[in-house]
């Protein structure tokens, strides 16, 4: 095991390489360009391929084709670039391709800004492209998790033959932290059962396309829903900090969860019983974490870098309105630890107001 100081974006790229990624295509966009730059030399070192695509659209489809031929393939983007990839990602889903995409979220609508944001939640978690789908969405909150999640993402995708999205953010991507690199995984693209390798005359050829074209659609629909339910049941992941006796429980992922963790510590120092549920998978959303909450909880507080409190609706669905659900939304600003503690105090003294549901 090697330990090194890496930027989050570099860790994500290195984690993917060690997880068997041997094809990368992407297009420059801040704040994810380090992934592209890192892959441009790293893929050469490990005998893989790198293409700087002419656009995000080209890149996402390069990854589709590389995966179809058996490679473990990654693309990454942010903001409007991630929007451009949505059509391609929907094609990955329809063809059952276990490709991986990373979105290093930045804030804003349309062009937006280059600083961190969490206003991509709905796009990331509720579909993004056309059709009935969720991606398997992993939300790292440290450089180490950027590496670890990229490392395991291909096997997770292959387990369900369904794409994985790593939803990182500008802070996690740009920050330096020590991180321990796992060993290089062996992966043979010729052993991938779906891989196209050329079919000699007389044998049945393979076509990688929307799977309903080559299968009875009702049968396919049934299997697909069964798969989505299985993922929902088996892949929920979350971290709990000081939850069992908490009066107020923050719910936050990514960079916000780091601030919320600081608030739990500061609040506890001041005698406030604060806790944190950190969703690690955003889809499937960790509903089980909310089923176990004690009845003494006086409020759930989501903390997000957006305006509409996008995750709050999932928290309400998961908790069935058992207690009030508040949201602290800070748009493009990083919340301060002190601000979160103050909000928790306002929940405890009854002065906090629940926002409307968008």
């Amino acid at each position: 095991m090697e330990t090194m100081l890496l930027k989050g974006n570099e860790a994500l790229a290195e984690g993917a390489v060690r997880g068997g990624c041997r094809f990368y295509a992407g297009y420059p966009i801040t704040p994810q360009s380090e992934i592209l730059e890192y892959m441009s030399w790293r893929q050469n070192e490990v005998g893989g391929s790198f293409i700087q695509g002419e656009s995000e659209i080209a890149s996402v489809n390069m990854v589709f084709a590389a995966t179809a031929l058996g490679a473990r393939a990654l693309t990454s983007s942010s903001g409007p670039g991630f929007s451009l990839k949505q059509e391609g990602i929907a094609y990955w889903v329809s063809a059952g391709m276990p490709a991986v995409v990373a979105c290093v979220s930045r804030y804003g609508i349309g062009d937006g800004f280059i600083g961190p944001g969490q206003d991509n939640y709905w796009q990331a978690v509720k579909g993004g492209g056309n059709g009935d789908y969720h991606l398997l969405v992993l939300a790292p909150n440290s450089v180490q998790e950027n590496m670890d999640m990229a490392y395991e993402s291909f096997e997770l995708a292959e387990k369900y033959m369904h794409p994985v999205l790593i939803l990182s953010d500008a802070t996690i991507g740009q920050m330096l932290e020590p991180c321990t690199a796992p060993p290089m995984k062996e992966y043979d693209k010729d052993k991938a059962p779906w891989a196209l390798k050329g079919t000699p005359i007389g044998q049945k050829n393979k076509v990688i396309t929307d799977m309903t074209y080559n299968q009875d659609i009702d049968e396919w629909n049934r299997d697909y829903i069964r798969k989505m339910r299985l993922i929902m049941e088996t892949e929920q992941r979350w971290e709990e900090i000081s939850v069992p006796d908490a009066d107020v429980v923050f719910v936050a992922y990514g960079i916000s969860s780091r601030i919320a963790e600081g608030a739990v510590r500061l609040g506890r120092e001041r005698g406030l019983k604060l806790g944190l549920i950190r969703p690690i998978t955003l889809w499937p959303f960790p509903r089980k974490a909310f089923a176990r909450l004690s009845d003494s909880v006086k409020g759930l507080v989501t903390v997000e870098l957006n305006m509409m409190g996008q995750m709050r609706e999932d928290v309400i669905l998961a908790s069935h309105w058992r207690c009030p659900a508040y949201s602290v939304t800070t748009a493009q600003r990083i919340p301060e630890v002190e601000q979160l503690v103050c909000f928790a105090e306002s929940v405890l003294n009854g002065s906090a107001v629940e926002e409307e549901v968008f």
Binding site: E54, N61, Y91, L196, P200
Partner: protein, 240 residues
């Protein structure tokens, strides 16, 4: 054309009567069989009428979104450089929605092959105007006929690509046995360029679409000879 279909061809043929796609597919099937490279080939389909070759030709195939063959083939060649990578594309896919990807593959001189079926319309969606629609041609989205003033000029791939450093560029058609023999030679040459690592090759084939042109199959063939070929001359434009 050989007397009996090569064994790569399956019996299904989903194309309309008189469609040019099936003629091209048959010629390509013969070349792949004669070169004995069926098992070494992976194709990349466009979306449109052209994609129905999947049902008549037993070759491994990836179907990316409409028009994105230039990007997909770049990746396919990187992952499996020892395979023949080619696309059967439509004019709308290769020249309109996917023009960026097609041109990027050409400017990089990717070692892949494009076969573009140019029937001057979007056929599968009902005959709408394409970049290739001819001056004066009626289509379901240019009902009074295309004009340069209103709809822009007609696309010509030779004018676009003739100065690029690519391996092979040719235009041919399937209107009679002699032209089909020439087309077959162009197909073979394009794949040989790829075999020899020369780079990007594109063969445009002028194909009839009697259904959307509102013509009988023989009339459609005559339309190509009389109206398309004078405007879009046949020949090999790049061969290096």
């Amino acid at each position: 054309m050989a007397k009996s279909a090569p064994s790569i061809m399956k019996c299904e043929n989903m194309f309309c009567a008189g469609c040019g796609h099936s003629l091209f597919d048959r010629l390509l099937g013969e070349v792949l069989t004669e070169m004995d490279i069926v098992g070494e080939s992976i194709s990349c389909s466009d979306i449109g009428c052209n994609h129905m070759y999947q049902y008549s030709m037993a070759v491994d195939t990836v179907v990316p979104p409409h028009g994105k063959m230039g990007a997909a083939m770049a990746a396919m060649k990187k992952v499996r450089p020892d395979k023949y990578i080619f696309s059967i594309a439509g004019d709308g896919g290769a020249y309109a929605i996917g023009l960026g990807e097609t041109l990027s593959a050409a400017t990089r001189n990717d070692n892949v092959t494009f076969f573009v079926m140019n029937n001057t319309v979007y056929a599968m969606t009902g005959g709408q105007m394409a970049p290739t629609t001819m001056p004066g041609q009626y289509s379901s989205s240019s009902i009074k006929g295309r004009t340069a003033e209103e709809h822009g000029r007609t696309f010509d791939v030779v004018k676009l690509m003739q100065n690029l450093e690519i391996a092979y560029l040719a235009r041919c058609t399937v209107t009679n046995a002699a032209e089909m023999a020439k087309t077959k030679r162009c197909i073979k040459k394009a794949l040989e360029k790829q075999r020899d690592g020369k780079g990007f090759s594109l063969v445009e084939v002028l194909v009839p679409c009697p259904t959307n042109w509102g013509l009988t199959p023989p009339e459609a063939m005559r339309h190509i000879e009389n109206d398309l070929v004078p405007y879009l001359p046949l020949g090999e434009y790049i061969d290096r």
